[in-house]
Amino acid sequence: MSSFNTLHILNKSPQHPRAAQCLALLSEGDALLLTENGVLLLCAGSLPAMGKVFALSPDVSARGIGNTIGDATLVEFGDMVALSLQAQRVISW
């Protein structure tokens, strides 16, 4: 797996103001990890054009939206740990 500049972890639904703020601040070379209600970005709104997008699998399953993951990659908690170490820094929104 490649390394990222910043890993942005977003746990808020697309209607939350911090979701828009997070998406606006994504840069080339960053990665976005959707957790909790953040995974609803997969079924509402559009994924950001830049950066790789991951979504926490148990949260996707809980909300029954496994059929709408698009270009996102489903990951487990172990991958979340690995991603947080691969990135230069982590921002929890």
């Binding site: 639904s13 209600n37 926490l56 908690f77 690995a82 947080s84 982590v90």
Partner: protein, 138 residues
Amino acid sequence: MADTSSETFTLVITGAPYSSQAPQTALGFARAATDAGHRIARIFLYGDGVHLASALSAPPSDETHWPKEWAGFLEHHGIPGIACIASALRRGLVNETEQKRYALPGSNLLHPFEIAGLGEWVEGRMMSTRTLYFHAGG
């Protein structure tokens, strides 16, 4: 698990159980981190997150008891769990020392959680490869 280098984490939980999913997501992360051979320097409870350290929580028997789940995990791995003193005092979360100091009618801090200042957060950051925050969602 090709890469077995051990790293150190500090986890900050600011969302309360039974109000946010923050303590659950943090526990999923913490378990995966220790399973992968990493070290967790400490858990720091801040803001509404201090409610995770309540000894008086009694959720319905068919729901997960998040304070006990976390306490068990901390004990098993010998990880310090620290509730920020300023957040805790405002929100009614006290140990016996604070009970005496403020002449309160009781104490309600769950073992092995401790109460200490933000300095513990600053120190945890300095000794950790990564510090992650688990906030209330919405």
